[in-house]
Symmetry: none
Subunit: 262 residues, 2 copies
Amino acid sequence: MSQTVDRALSILPLLAEGPANLEQVASRLGVHKSTALRLLRTLHEHGIVYRQQDQRYRLGARLFALAQEAVENLDVREIAHPHLAELNEKCGHTVHLAVYEENEVLYIDKVESRYPVRMYSRIGKPVAITVAAVAKLLLADLPEPERRAVAERLDYPMYTSRSTPNAAAFLKELATVREQGWATDLGGHEESINCIGAPIRGADGRAVAACSVSAPNVVVTADELLTLLPLLRRTAGAISAEYSGTAHTPEKPHPSQKEDRS
Amino acid sequence: MSQTVDRALSILPLLAEGPANLEQVASRLGVHKSTALRLLRTLHEHGIVYRQQDQRYRLGARLFALAQEAVENLDVREIAHPHLAELNEKCGHTVHLAVYEENEVLYIDKVESRYPVRMYSRIGKPVAITVAAVAKLLLADLPEPERRAVAERLDYPMYTSRSTPNAAAFLKELATVREQGWATDLGGHEESINCIGAPIRGADGRAVAACSVSAPNVVVTADELLTLLPLLRRTAGAISAEYSGTAHTPEKPHPSQKEDRS
DNA sequence: AGTTGTGTTGCATTACGTGCAACAGCCATT
DNA sequence: AATGGCTGTTGCACGTAATGCAACACAACT
């Protein structure tokens, strides 16, 4: 909408990839050097970008501080964390927390597996939206027209032979997920990694986040992983209860909580 | 420098304080509603701000994603190297850079001593984790439960009579290191070699790496080595500042600013 | 009904961002 | 030293694109 701001903001993902000098920024933006310079200067004044000694630009401290505040405002994370840690404690696998925002699903928290073989993922990284269990859960919860609209405009990369191939299949999968209240990703993203997920719901019943347990099948088979489903769903239920304030005073958590059927 | 971008960026700290609606943003920026709307829309398109269901704006999770990606692509080693070279230039001794990873501390860079007597070490090699100054610094920075857990499961080989003998002694040492912000290894690994270290901290204050100066006492005594501490700590501070991108122009007062050119 | 309080849109006016071209450093070559 | 290439910086004239205004839309109130 605003060309100048649009250009300035387009610099950020570019610099997130790594340091770049003025000319690189200018050419990737498709603008004249002097224009890029002024944009960078403005970003610099706000501390969003930083200039290192070799004169190249990078994202700066202010952006990190803002990001920190942004994630702190997502208070699901704070509430969920101890539950996720406890879940990890019990099962030993990698646990993720994700939210949906603006056509993307992002990991916002992670507790690492205790096993030596770990899956690669990164907090803040957009997930493979067409296959990840957490993505299915969050999209399944969107109102029907929006869900359809999103599904239609997505790409369906075939990460593996078991990846979701197209919008129709995806919508069908979302219906199933919506029905059963949990989701899986069995080798849909990486051949050897399986994943199960459950939704975290706010007071109004909408899914505000989703959590998942992931494990490579050299550690546990898909079937074994599925036996953790009740535990996972109890955890998600406990987080939901605490988040929506329907459970107890935040002072003394009450671990036992019945899972609810939808 | 660029008014439009300047205004757009001024919205971010404002939203960091908490969600705000259009009018609040407009008035605090000192611009017309329609102007604020366009700026917010542009920020929104880039996922920097998010619009919650009550129509108020808040910082978006995308910011977090950007920051996360940036730190992942940040190379401590690249940033630190010139500083380490300069440090070596000034004191002449061997300088090391190390990081903590998966229960190990690894050397990732080294600038050789200019003296003929050198200590043996190799980039990529795990350090003696119970005695090395860099290891103490990195472990001292772990959250308490993990620090304890790691300390408990380590072996405590007696390389010399001054090696750390057991977990209790190690934890005590870590507390001291944490307190004072620097660490030493006085003949704990090799009888005749002393070492001092300082932490390198990222934007969030966590130690991302540590650097050290090592010298055999045939070249300098332990006391003489300790006189280099201020220099070492300044170096570590400079690397931290550059790594975390801390350098932007301090003053950014109120929305009603005239353009000031210099 | 009206009334306030929002967010949104179209449009004229001109401020402001733009690209250009010339300049200034800084390093390698010669 | 002098040269040439490379990159960042500055001043300026031009015209795009951002601005504020006023009218509109759509709630949620009274």
